[in-house]
Symmetry: C2
Subunit: 247 residues, 2 copies
Amino acid sequence: MIAARNNLRTLAEYQHRKEACSNCALFCMCFPDPADSASRIDELKLRHKLVSRGEHLVLDGEKMRNIYVVRRGALKAYELTSDGDTMVTGFYFPGEVVGLESLFSETHKGHVVALQDTCYCEIPLKTFKRLQKKNGELQSLTQQLLCQSVYDTRRLLLTTRHLNAQARLATFLVNVVDRLVEPDDPAEFHLRIDRQDIANYLGLTIGTVSRTLSDFRKHGFLTASGKRFRIDDLQELRAIATRFANH
Amino acid sequence: MIAARNNLRTLAEYQHRKEACSNCALFCMCFPDPADSASRIDELKLRHKLVSRGEHLVLDGEKMRNIYVVRRGALKAYELTSDGDTMVTGFYFPGEVVGLESLFSETHKGHVVALQDTCYCEIPLKTFKRLQKKNGELQSLTQQLLCQSVYDTRRLLLTTRHLNAQARLATFLVNVVDRLVEPDDPAEFHLRIDRQDIANYLGLTIGTVSRTLSDFRKHGFLTASGKRFRIDDLQELRAIATRFANH
DNA sequence: CGTACGCTTGAAGCTCATCAAAATCTGTGG
DNA sequence: CCACAGATTTTGATGAGCTTCAAGCGTACG
């Protein structure tokens, strides 16, 4: 069961949390112009919740009741085919919005499950729509995020169609670094995604992913043991990522 | 050079054209509630234009000035990699909107070129935004189209990652039929896309596309000679499209 | 009617999937 | 803290499927 914490917090408390929210895609919704922040926060009745590893945040076909933003943790989005095969469609890291692309149909497409204990913000759809209606900023932010989503998906599409295993994995790793690591920090992280999910996500098999990682290790591009990764030559990985298989 | 025809037409003339517009994704923008259509059409100052085969409608990196809707013809969207390789990202057929996903950045990503002489509607971005601001219907339509675009791209993504050549091509053909052929018409069409572009789009080579088409021919699923296609067993193609390679 | 381009077909090679076994990691209880 | 069991990851051998390259064929168009 999902452990719910539906507390309404004070503005002061939110100001404290600004750091945690600073890379949130919907930052402007919770922390607008200081002049009227109080009312906004109040109206949001923002709910922080937790899902533990293995629990689902969203189920396929479910009516969309909320929009979610990841605070801490990691989530996996996937769909099941008619044959019962799993297809991993994406991952969500802190600061990222879950379920926005369901906005129109108001029905979730695909499942979203926690890869580790994950803390998130829950924004009721009604609140979101109300805010959107009277707030041009949020309006255009929504469009921006949707456009970005189209762009990202298309990029992934091009990636998987035209790249070989090395380039696919390099693209994936570079993307993870960009999303998970602060710009000037060392590229070292605990990746909660297992090899099977990476493979599925990239349209490869677990064997190929493992082998390719070994290749990268041999070439000194990274140090990876289990789920602990350190990227030693991001430059080179970026180069491999843009190097095409069929030229 | 693009042959421009910037005439403002009368409402009566538009009513006549309703049939041509009836499957337009932005239909509601031009033909809203009959009561106030006149003003809407007037405001739109809709411009019909032409691009001939091989001419570009949109160039990569270009500032977005208009939104386009295809009336007649076919367009190809593609990007160029740093190595100079072409990657075909999609096709546009009558009734479909070009460039909506650039809405936020207001910069076009990728090129769009005409595969045949193509007639389209040009909606100035400013007009579109103005209409959007005071028209909730168009507002939500935009979001819907963006959501749809995410969904379509994701679907295509799943397709190409996990399917073999047969399934990819079948998916492509079924999709073309759905977009190009009226529901109850015989599935017969002149596909302006050449084998090379199909191959690139599906992440295959021209040889594999040709070979797979031959397989389909041998099995009696279709009759294809050059760019003329007749789908003889859409049912079976749909079955192949959903049949996965790696189960 | 001939040329050029696109399409088809064939043979050889390479990448990645498949299956299986070994190695390593993770978590649990002693 | 260590030992053990289950899960995950790595590695290896083999083969299917797709690419590559090249040659031949068909078709469109001047």
